[in-house]
Symmetry: C2
Subunit: 415 residues, 2 copies
């Protein structure tokens, strides 16, 4: 049994994590939040207090820390007595925060793969480049590390596991992520633009016929007829969970599909073709060295500013195909979330909500011991049922369509 949570990061997802931890502090204990900028942490605490989110009286505190400095993070873990660290900071700090957890014995939970700031869309094996190299050390020291416990990766890995457990054999996993909401701006990204665009600027890798195959962004599109949001076009994209699922289920094809409207694609294409999404500095006529992507980020709306006017729904799910009793068998496991409801509850838009609620559920399962694995795990390696039970209760209910998309629709508990 572990308790006391240290949240690393103070962006839109961290805000959701803080609210959800506060709503469940009877299980989680003290809540600490730390980022480079103390004022951002304090603004989140203020929002938690405004909503009266703390379930019971308890500690709720903000700290300044440079998460690239592993020793500083370890010191903060010791200082706060945190036994669980939820890392929702920039994707560049995973390894320093993980090292601090291994050093102190705290459980580590994150929501996205580690990235090197100097590289874009690294090639497979993604988890193998950084995180998995620490797996033996985690096991040796008995440190729990749950990788990619957001929505995607995270809940979608659990969706896959749940569907696969219903089958004799799995043939394919197609993860479909649709944001059918509208933020009302000309253009905006739902996460930090620097991270958001980096997802789409490289080669798209997917797993088929037991090998890595390649395509390019927006080259492979498919119309998906989904519950609630209707027919939406999505394009194959690279995503963390393709790698871990392909490793754990090498016999299955694994693909990730992200929904994009024509307008998004047009803006993205213009920026990319002009070289404005580059992370390599250019020199202006006046001799100033500038990274174009950082300027694009500076002119785009702050993702957290989108929340108040965001309307509509997201639908994220896994279409899993295989066989059962010798017959073809299909299941679609999914969640639908609402932007406006998310904002009303925790002051964030639905994309941050779907990313921020799951790591809190994971933290609660570590606290109760159900997911306290004492080693490194990706989400599909853990029992999905207690996870779904908690998610149902704290805001992200799981539903299932038996027979595949458009099949018999029911809560996962009835499947």
């Amino acid at each position: 049994m572990k308790k006391n949570v240290l949240i690393i990061g103070a962006g839109g997802v961290a805000q959701v994590v803080a609210h959800k931890c506060a709503q469940n502090n009877d299980v989680l204990g003290d809540i600490h939040i730390a980022s480079r900028t103390l004022a951002k942490c304090e603004a989140i605490l203020e929002s938690v207090r405004e909503k009266g989110a703390m379930k019971t009286e308890g500690v709720l505190a903000a700290h300044a820390v440079d998460a690239m400095d592993s020793a500083a993070v370890a010191a903060l873990i010791r200082q706060t007595g945190a036994q669980i660290v939820i890392n929702v900071g920039s994707a560049f700090v995973n390894m320093t925060v993980l090292d601090a957890c291994i050093e102190t014995g705290a459980a580590y939970i994150d929501t996205a793969i580690h990235e090197d700031p100097a590289k874009i869309c690294e090639t497979p094996p993604w988890y193998g480049n950084y995180e998995w190299k620490k797996r033996d050390l985690c096991a040796e020291k008995g440190v729990t590390a749950i990788l990619g416990a957001g929505f995607d990766p995270g809940v979608v890995n659990a969706f896959a596991r749940f569907a696969i457990d219903m089958m004799d054999e799995v043939k394919s996993i197609d993860i479909v992520d649709i944001n059918a909401g509208s933020h009302g701006k000309y253009f905006a990204t739902n996460f930090d633009p620097e991270i958001n665009f980096r997802e789409f600027t490289g080669t798209v890798y997917y797993w088929e016929d037991q090998q890595w195959k390649e395509t390019s962004m927006f080259a492979s599109g498919h119309d998906w007829d989904l519950p609630v949001v209707g027919t939406c076009r999505a394009y194959q994209s690279g995503h963390d969970e393709v790698h871990s699922l392909a490793t754990n289920y090498p016999q299955a094809d694994v693909r990730f599909w992200m929904g994009f409207g024509d307008h998004y694609i047009n803006v993205f294409t213009v920026l990319q073709n002009l070289g404005l999404l580059s992370e390599q500095p250019v020199k202006t006529a006046e001799g100033l060295e500038v990274v174009p992507l950082k300027v694009v980020k500076a002119v785009l709306p702050d993702p957290s500013s989108l929340a108040p006017d965001y309307t509509g729904k997201t639908c994220i799910g896994d279409l899993v195909k295989g066989t059962k009793n010798g017959q073809p068998y299909e299941v679609f496991v999914y969640n639908v979330a609402d932007h406006k409801e998310a904002y009303e509850e925790v002051g964030s838009q639905g994309i941050s909500y779907t990313a921020g609620v799951p790591p809190v559920a994971a933290a609660m399962l570590v606290a109760t011991g159900e997911w306290d694995a004492h080693t490194m795990k990706n989400v599909e390696e853990l029992d999905p049922k207690p996870f779904f039970t908690l998610l149902d209760r704290i805001g992200l209910p799981t539903r299932v369509q038996i027979g595949g998309l458009g099949g018999t629709d029911m809560p996962w508990t009835q499947a």
Copy 2:
């Protein structure tokens, strides 16, 4: 009679000006070229030498000068003995260079209106904001200043004057500027992107029914069926000559139409809507202050790099409507230029060629005395015929279609 030319600027247009001055140094005397960056001037001189462009033996020299420093420009005028200054530097230096001419008595010729670097697309009265305030002083000191003597403004003002001289009464002047060439890049501007985009980011003013009217960029489009280049879509844009022509011919409607392809408009619209064309600095997450437009300029191809692969033609002309002998009368006066021929002759693309040849013709007319007005003039206030005669000879022949677009086509000399 004046002689010895000082060219201010070392961009693509300055290169054309230098070549054309060299080709006519029997009339113009010594040729000096000056800009902030000496190496750019020297590269132009090298190109002039390579083509063997000097008609007779004579002075051809490069100088470094900060054209924002009026005293430095005046000192250089005195040092070189230049009696004619062709200002094809940035639009921000007009007033300092003009002041230096007034100070020294040298004739001043430019090709575009003065701009304040801190303002975009200033409102009417454009020439009235800066240049025309010096008109009385020019007259008092007997200083010749010819404003806007490029192609547009410049030759198109002479086209208007020529057509109007054929009529009893003028009703409308529509200037149409089509670049039907192709540079083969994803996207590029033909001039310095900083100046180029500034033309299109503000309100579009035009003169109709004896008053200023407003529209916005790309809102008012029209398909023009033009000689040689065929049917091209052009959009009302603000342009210097609309102001001077409306002042000199207030009874006529005056509109300027610039040709744009859908791709250009799309890229421009994306950049503008994102705020990337702004000249106001933004701050990156790392705290660096950057002007977005300067970053866009840094990632776009250098306009001078387009020349070697540029193919196709430009067509720029004036459709002038009025009455003659009580009957409606229409004339289209125009020039067609070829990108590849321009490159072969002077190492520049056609857009720079059409902008750079006319001020040299104007300088030659100042040298011979025909346009040595001893006061400030816009081009439509000067006799167009010697100008056309020279332009015919030095590379930009004028043609006329009597009856308007698609009418009887002939050289201007037969009209």
